[in-house]
Amino acid sequence: MIWFYLERIFGYWPVLLKGMGMTIGLSLLSLVIGVVIGFGFGIIRAGGNRWLSRVLGLYIDFFRATPFLVQVFIAYFILPVLGIELSAFAAGVVALSNMAACFIGEIVAAGLKAVPTGQREAAIASGMTRAQQMHLVVMPQAVRIITPSLVGQFVLLIKDSSVVSAIGLLDLTRSGWLIVQSVPNGLLVFGIVGIGYFLICYPLIHLSRRLERRSQTAFL
């Protein structure tokens, strides 16, 4: 009986493969955009301009406070009202990379603040410009501190990408949802979907743990 269902599910392998591709593509694209904007956010949040930092803090708080599902709906249903028409894929990328940027921004800001002030003072004393201080002294040390949390954030990003299936994007979760309509065995179908996610996320979780252990010993 179980073989019968397995055979039918694997008859849908093009759908599963397409969903897997969408999940990976969407996550990677949002990851790149999210990291770039997130580092910008982090530098502003940890930087000297109090007001800019506070306004950005409110923006970030909003996206940390609301569920990702609501953010996806905002990108898909509210942005068009403001004159920005987005396809489901574009809305997914916008919502996902924006949320990633908000969380990464806070991580980067915390990392920058964790670098001892003596480092920056030494950089100032040796006559570096502000850009040089950041680029050559502070940021490299901050990156070392935050790398484990960044990898952890990537895992969250991949898992959150499943929510975009709610606006009809055919990702891994959506492909499972489609298959379960004709193969009525939810445990099997979503078991396979779960294995798909596990294969991507579990190595990353391990990597994050290893990096964490390494950075702990590095600072002792």
């Binding site: 406070a65 569920p67 599902l69 609501v70 891994l172 445990l187 979503f190 779960g194 996610y197 979780i205």
Partner: protein, 222 residues
Amino acid sequence: MLGGLNTRVMMEYLPEIWQGFLATLFLSTASFVGAMALGVLACALTIQPLRWLRAPAVVYVDVIRATPLLAQLYFLYFGLPRLGVVLPEMLIGIIVLSLNSGAYMAEIIRSGILSIPRGQVEAGMSTGLGYMQRMRLIVLPQALRTTVSPLIGQAIVLVKDSSLLSLISVVELTRAGQRIAIDRFMPVEGLVATALGYLVLYYLLKSAAGAWQARNSIPGRG
């Protein structure tokens, strides 16, 4: 941008939004209790020495952490009827949320316990305290101080995650907001009302975490 917001319609749907808000609060609270129980159990199993008791707890935590909540939700929502178990959507939602958050809580509690310096435990041993006494009198009270803030953080995650239950047609805050979108074709009004509800819960929990931190941090140690 929000000048054209139809506040009259929002007021008209206020009772439904309020109901949704209460439902979200209820779902999160119930799941928090369930997750706490599961988290303590899984944590206790992972830190005790017996391998065959530890393995299932480790597998549970890793599998939950490596798969998305939505897939877990669909797994039970579409899967349980297959096993002949028919439960109301709300109960399935609470079970899935508890299972999901339980894994994260196990990790939070574990790292709280492991953060206690080894010397504390050794001091307990040398004064002749048994395992349970050391846990109850020395380790857990100190672990509590560092654990409460991340646990409140997990509660925030839980509140947000409960929005996914709207996808299996549980009526909560997100679903209530969608009603305005569907009945009146006013998605903006619905989403604004929904977002406001979550913001209230977020700031309540965030300030609770801050207050705890302020009262219980050790000067110089954070």
